[in-house]
Subunit: 144 residues, 4 copies
């Protein structure tokens, strides 16, 4: 296992997201769709917590997209307006053309698990519309 | 008043939009933000109801954007999950660089007025980042 | 297998959803999150296509919620502004406390598969906060 | 002018909101609808910055709703993914049944004005479905 792979698989990040009123639905709780917004915040935070001077937000302007190929969400609890969601993110697998993120979403106040997410992402060069090698991408993105 | 201006100011369109569960919030009614989604549907429907073989959805791919400069919404009622919203759209003013749309949103079942919207839009050439003359834009877009 | 179970497992529904401009993101395509909105439309349409005089939209007012427990989405293609999404829905499994829906989302114009969704749902009595027996729920909901 | 009125009209709050990728649209900028989400964050932050031990997020559970009656947005600039939005909020008018908030939204990095918002809100007792006197509401909500 290369240094960069080892570094990435051992890295973890946590970030906190606040629930908005319009994230809720008529059941009084956060609509199931909106957890995808929260774990995407976890992904952004994970990427920017790597040792890098670049920001993941800039990649789209460099015609690089980190798309989602597959996502699996287990709903374990429900969040309400005013809750803060703790998103813990790790990278579980790093293939050549895809990588698998794991996001655990907790209510921050009492650490109740709300959702457990597995998300497979790829890196695409929007100029050529071709998949980039994930490890090569990280070798350029991360400075270790 | 040119023929095209007269045609546009006398034109009206109505379309129907269905309220989704995730459009509602914990008050059990549609969140105020989501009415902007509904009147935007009215705008799209109005544009495509003009005598034209082009579709407003294609303009973005032709690097033409019909942006919103100013919007004013009066909330008069509230919609719920399962309601159908009737959006009635007219063009009230046509300037050289902007145009003012009026959208009235009703609950379709009982014709209760839910929201009254005034939206000022402009036409931008995304290649040159400059405003297009609105009447010239319509002369090309509409075939009358 | 009871009549109602057989009826439900053999039933299928298709509905069409239009992509809004605000469903897209800066990549120019529909954001991955929004496919959850589209398959939820498929769920609502499936439920209302069953032989019933009640509407699934009314259940929330009767304190019955059809929540999502688990969802899995495979992204196979990408949709753009103006596309119509064809959502084909079947019920693949019917347990006592949960049921598994399958939604296939296609671009209507060329039948390209965009997303393949498996969604596990439960029925909750919001008065007692307890899970309802799914088959009992359907025995009351469907009139066959 | 009563003490509470004077206090409220002289109070100001600023908060910072991060733009999500799914807030953008195919023009590459934040969709005009999403500014309503940002100024609503400003409203929540303003309310919680008042001298109070209660949180505005709890009011909905106490069957009190602070609804929006009228909103007016002038779009002055455009935000992108990764931008931080500074929302500056003041209360400009305090009537008996409504109040007028002013929200100025800036890109935090360069202080470019993005949107100027006037939002009229009311306070509703959801138990009786009647409007509450705004000053009475604040006399209970704020502890000065």
């Amino acid at each position: 296992m290369s240094d960069i792979t080892e570094y990435l698989l051992n890295h973890s990040d946590s970030t906190v997201v606040k629930v908005r009123f319009n994230d809720t639905d008529a059941m009084g709780i956060v609509h199931f769709m909106n957890y995808m917004m929260y774990f995407d915040d976890g992904f952004v935070s994970f990427m920017n917590s790597l040792g890098t001077s670049r920001k993941v937000e800039e990649l789209i302007h460099q015609k690089i997209a980190l798309g989602v190929k597959h996502v699996e969400v287990s709903y374990e609890g429900s969040a309400r307006f005013g809750d803060y969601i703790l998103v813990e993110t790790t990278l579980e697998e790093l293939g050549s053309k895809s990588m698998k993120f794991r996001h655990k979403l907790y209510r921050e106040s009492d650490k109740t698990l709300l959702a457990d997410v597995k998300a497979v992402r790829f890196v695409m060069d929007l100029n050529t519309k071709s998949l980039m090698n994930v490890k090569e991408f990280f070798s350029n993105f991360v400075e270790i």
